[in-house]
Symmetry: C3
Subunit: 346 residues, 3 copies
């Protein structure tokens, strides 16, 4: 799939300068772009990059103050125009047609909604309920008595252990494991004895969970992910955690057991949280922080152990200047010694 | 499944106050509980939470000093009583019946013990040996010449590469990968050339390994996990690591190659360890620590780079008060300057 | 498989001292070795370990200054000799014969090269192209229109989403997920609305990717991994990242979206990088660092936030001695107070 620069100008209703025959086959951000790509500039911050990008065509705002001989299309809204071009140049998203593949293994008493799509080698265990139009990807396992809502999309090689519940429009990426046993042991005579993990996992509507993320079933009761929360790849969520609605949990985050997170919370990459904590609504926990105490609502936390932003900044600034401080103290010691010597002179 | 409060009181032999008809369908910790849940209080620390929990029924000790109009059941041991209730209200654990599913692919020379359960789409390669009563979950792959003990439980979508050895009663959660190649290269003319990884992985009796954890095969010899050790989700264990018995390795821990960990060691979440280290018996490494040197037995390490607890506490306390120290030094400078000026006065 | 010490001496052309009948069945590093293992010493650093290793046989250099009654074989090059022994004692690597298993599900219009090996329960979707001699492991999923080069090796339970492109000789370990949707949302009326992720993933020749690693598809354009780059287990690479050639990315690293990494870069374990950064060629980022700014070529970065090596060392050294500095300041305050008191004396 490729388009000439002038075809793109027509498509987006823009004003072309430069080579109208430039052949465009790819789309990319301004820094990653290669020859043959179209890119865009949405902010004055990137005007300078117009001169250096390797893209063959640049979409930018009509009033952008950029003076260059490169092939450009000026448009009202570069983001909207670029999205149009992306739709034309990128291959269409794959759709899975309704139907049940002959190799899928489905328990006789599983209940399948209308227009579900069950892909090759999927397994649906006894008692499971699959909502209308839900897609179960190739090799995906839906355990006993799981209940899945409508319009869910489970990509290939997902595992749902028994009794897991999904709301509607839930997206689970490949390698997701929901409902593995929580990590709980009691020490008996110096050995770790397994504590039964008889609870479940419950995921709300419109949740999306990234590749290879693991959310453990509760020891008892439910591990819960609230409506609209989005979880990135390779996240570990311990047993009995309760995550609110509309949260963002980034890659490689680890939550120990029984931690409760409010609504609208953002947890950046590689954050770790101890167990049995409460994080208040709308808080933001910055990357790699280590949360060891409850966090009040609307907090902005950094560092390990995590502290509020203002405190972190003061401590971090002082730490970065610590060698300077050491030098100052050394000077003070010298001066004081000299002063003492002088004052003890007759 | 649900029970009235008075039915629960009978079940646990407790003394009910409040509404005997309260309908209970769920179980939860005191902070996560919702209306309709039963919860429990095992420690005076949580007596205050009795007033604020949303649970509809609370189990607590006969002598707990709690004065409330809420529906309670007083019992001798709230933990034991709660466990009884959990068993009645929670769905029963799933059991996999012995037998071989028609879609499993099993090499003719694989040796299957008595009463094994081989689930749909499992693959057992040539030369593999599966012990009595072991369960191989749906889509799980058991590579060439693997040897699995008795009573193992491999959940769906586990991968065991060739020659992996498991003891008895080993539990592997979904997404576990044992025996992928170690990460080893030699630089030849500026390019990374793969070092053959011809060793194996050997897992002792009673080991449990969490979802999506990866343990690499040895470059040569064996990567070993000792009897009774429990490993959480999303842990990375490099080639040739040797982990002792009865250890606890928490989520998102990363061990580089050839590190040796003693018996009874606890490694908390997101800890990283460099390669070729030795960690002594019964040491505890706290969350997010970065271990860069050998650790003597019975150590308690924190921080990155990790240092003993006492040292960490002194350094961390001083760091938290660093802005204060900066201010003190500023004052000293002023006072000294004033003193110098005064003493240079005629 | 086992050999007598004298058989090993013959095999490697070495000079045996000690017990020629010692029976050797395993190979191991000098610290992990058990009785019955052969090990080797390649560096004077480990001469001392010859006395303490539990190995039954040690290969070492003819001129090694080691005086011991243990069973030894002296050779010209202990590494070469040991590699010879490893080949004889370790089981041979598994090869997958060409052919298509009856349980594999292959779209009629998929194009398979010569001598491909398609293992049980693999799925190859419509439009996919598989190069000559490439192996598709059991349960592995190759999505629509994927293009795989020649001599690739995809282990069991890998997932390639639609349009993923692999070069030649690419190795993907079990649990790898390429092309899951990037993690991108726009906040609309307080809720996170999914941004379509219509780009792809493109992996160069000779790339190896470790178990359970996830590399997201681009929002648009391509997420790219350059030729010869090696990626360890449980790594998260966000949408639109571009990684250069001959890089080393260690376990549990997390890269947020759109970060660009040059050629020959080493990223050690558990490093995190913010999005939209540029890391210059041949830089080294040490373990657990948190990269928040662009990194110039040939940098050596540590810490979180990451700073150049020299700066880190100064800051870290000062931090480790911080309690000492606090004490110094306390003394200065006392001395100064005494001096002030003295000078205000009549």
């Amino acid at each position: 799939m490729s388009l000439r620069a002038r075809e793109i100008a027509e498509l987006v209703g823009g004003q072309l300068t430069g080579n109208p025959d430039e052949l465009i086959a790819g789309v990319a951000g301004i820094r990653e772009a290669q020859p043959g790509d179209v890119t865009f500039v949405a902010s004055p911050k990137y005007w300078g990059a117009v001169a250096t990008t390797r893209a063959s065509l640049i979409l930018l705002a009509r009033d952008a103050k950029v003076d260059t001989a490169r092939t450009l299309i000026r448009v009202d809204n570069p983001v909207v125009a670029f999205t149009e071009v992306v739709k034309r140049l990128m291959p269409p998203p794959v759709k899975f047609a309704p139907g049940i593949h002959a190799t899928a293994v489905i328990a006789p008493d599983a209940k399948l909604g209308r227009d579900v799509s069950i892909q090759p080698h999927a397994v649906i265990e006894a008692g499971a309920v699959i909502g209308d139009r839900t897609v179960i990807g190739a090799g995906t396992y839906v355990g006993h008595d799981c209940r899945l809502g409508t319009d869910c999309l489970l990509y290939p090689n997902v595992t749902l252990r028994e009794y897991t519940v999904l709301g509607n429009r839930v997206i689970l990426h490949s390698g997701v494991v929901l409902g593995a046993d929580g990590f709980g042991y009691e020490k008996v005579d110096g050995r770790h004895q397994k504590i039964p993990q008889v609870g479940t996992v419950e995921v709300g509507d419109d949740v999306e969970i990234g590749a290879n993320t693991a959310i453990d079933r509760a020891r008892f009761g439910k591990t819960r992910i609230g409506r609209g929360t989005k979880i990135d790849n390779l996240v570990q969520i311990g047993h009995n955690c309760v995550i609110g609605e509309d949260c963002i949990i980034c890659g490689l985050v680890g939550l120990a057991g029984s931690t409760i997170i409010g609504n609208g919370v953002t947890v950046a990459g590689q954050v770790g949280m101890a167990g049995h904590l409460v994080v208040g609504d709308n808080s933001i926990i910055m990357a790699q922080a280590g949360v060891t105490k409850d966090v009040p609502p609307n907090s902005f936390m950094l560092g390990a152990p995590a502290v509020p932003h203002k405190e972190f900044k003061r401590i971090n600034a002082a730490t970065q200047r610590l060698p300077e401080l050491v030098e100052k103290v050394r000077l003070l010691e010298q001066q004081l010694a000299a002063l003492c010597a002088a004052s003890s002179q007759p």
